[in-house]
Symmetry: C2
Subunit: 355 residues, 2 copies
């Protein structure tokens, strides 16, 4: 089976900015090139494409070539006849869109395009619909080979593969998912199958936020169950409301607005009554310590918060799943999909513009 | 100024279920009655209404009366001529709605109705619109005197007062807010003015979740800034996306669905690469420890997760503020408000039915 990986992985970022070798271990190459290397070692026919191969030190290129990885600066060449195309392209979405459009016509019948940590598969899938129709490539599936770690480090022991679960319209076939699972497992990794929308929150660097909010929600559940003895439904309502509001504040107003509007002093005072079981509330206690030293953690955000003025009013706590349901009743599933695509775009570009 | 407090506060819950005296300190009464007590001590003309006063021990009633609190089982009587009406009524929303409707015609011109920890002021405001029009009581404002603690405990040193900030249509006048601020401060408490939608997430018991997710977001921001050196916009996007997804999962599928769909093992593996600065990531480290022992924390939820099957597909990561904006473009502000009211209702009742 031919596998094509697009995007070498920035050696400069991994080695000099992130200090991956010291922090996490492993040896270069890291990133897409490390994935290509391990697929080749597992016996696959692998091509790695990157427009800047000439900048890569010779010894690293040799390491790849001696393992059987074909190297090219030409995306079309790498795509030709490939059954799996993995995009480890840069974060700026324009580049990934362009690479995907370029390679689409050249992939083998029934191929699957996979995003990694640099792009949501749903965003790419929705962006590429025009090209899929024009090229008549409805046979091509969309999923992920998300490393959920930096390929080339010892922490990278798994891939997250996006499935159709929770989607109304499939983006990938069972055979294509099976193919990716085999690719992961033959390369010595665990394969986790996840609903497509959950791959980014679990696999991206934001897992820090996901894991903290998740365990925090369960810690609150435990206090509610054992100490407060409140109804389960109230607990779930409050968890969903709290996270919905913070998500909305960040999406709409950024960290400065979040800090200003939530009012750190009010949170501190309110939290004092909620340390009810010290043993069972390690996260609550940490949170309460951190609230006391935000000026050490992020003085620049506190400054921003002081100056913050909300640009326009907003309904912060409107629960997204219920809004989606109403929208579907109003305008139907097809129009809804278009609007969701636009909301994601607006979300991402709105956040980007703030900077 | 006449102040009326509705709802004594359940002595049985505070003393026997929550063990407030041992856990947090203070002396009964707790809850609405403790608020009435402190307002009376501050020199206000206070009436406390509760239909079950006869069940309260005589010595506690005497404590209230000797401080000047008038006691009645008749809500209308308490409301008559009051400028501030505070609802410390039970959590089941039906009761609060009914009390509010009963008292509305009897309040003094320009009075303000305040919810506490048992009801969102926005939900009450939107529910009461019919009665406000029928009774011609557009003069009545809506806000909160949210104790964000259990009144009667030493932790209760503050009130959260809901303002119009972030609302498109005001629910309270500056004079009414000023009156509440004075009531809080004369009673020896701090007064925090918060946008109406933020009072519940900051003041309710769910503050545990709010504070953990908030500090977790800032912890991730710090790692992104100092170690990952990623763009601020990407950090904000990932935080908003992670919290949006968890909020949506809980709102739609409950804790069982949350645990099943997020895939705890995948989260553990993914988090391993993100402990990049031990000093600066206390929450990440705690979260990663807790992920390892979910079977101790909530074995019943893990069991539920095993059996969980999603009822229907859903768009999990659709950002709520952007959806609201599109909805407004589609149907206008008035219809939007109706739909938001319905989504909140659906959200709450949907969660309740799951139990």
């Amino acid at each position: 089976m031919r596998v094509a990986v697009f995007g070498f992985g920035s050696l400069n970022y991994y080695l000099n900015k992130l200090n991956v070798r010291e922090r996490l271990g492993g040896e270069p190459p890291y990133g897409g090139s490390a994935m290509a290397l391990e697929f080749a070692k597992a016996g696959y026919n692998v091509t790695l494409a990157d427009p800047h191969l000439s900048k890569v030190p010779q010894e690293i290129l040799e390491k790849l070539e001696s393992a059987g990885v074909k190297l090219t600066e030409n995306d079309t060449e790498a795509a030709e006849g490939s059954e799996v195309a993995i995009l480890f392209t840069p974060f700026r979405s324009g580049i990934t869109f362009k690479v995907a459009e370029t390679i689409l016509p050249h992939l083998k019948e029934g191929a699957v395009i996979c995003t990694t940590c640099t792009m949501s598969v749903l965003v790419l899938h929705s962006y590429l619909q025009g090209a899929v129709l024009t090229e008549g490539r409805e046979d091509v599936g969309f999923s992920t080979m998300h490393p959920a770690a930096i390929p080339g480090t010892p922490q990278h022991q798994h891939y997250l593969i996006a499935t159709n679960e929770l989607l109304r319209n499939p983006i990938v076939t069972d055979e294509q998912v099976e193919k990716l699972k085999e690719l992961a497992e033959k390369s010595g990794k665990k394969a986790y199958l996840l609903p497509a929308e959950l791959v980014s929150p679990v696999g991206d660097m934001g897992i820090v936020t996901t894991a903290i909010a998740f365990t925090g929600a369960l810690e609150y559940y435990r206090v509610a169950r054992d100490v407060l003895k409140t109804k389960r439904s109230m607990t779930e309502f409050q968890v969903a409301q709290a996270l919905q509001v913070i998500a909305s504040l960040v999406a709409k107003y950024g960290f400065g607005g979040l800090i200003k509007l939530l009012n750190v002093d009010a949170m501190k005072d309110s939290l004092k009554s909620m340390v009810l079981d010290k043993e069972g509330q390690p996260m609550t206690i940490k949170a309460s310590e951190l609230l006391e030293k935000l000026d050490e953690i992020a003085p620049e955000l506190l400054e921003e918060a002081e100056k913050f003025e909300p640009s326009e009013p907003m309904y912060l706590s409107a629960p997204s799943p219920m809004l989606v349901e109403y929208m579907e009743d109003l305008i139907g599933d097809e129009a809804l999909k278009g609007i969701l695509r636009e909301t994601w775009k607006k979300f991402y570009s709105g956040v980007s513009e703030r900077q």
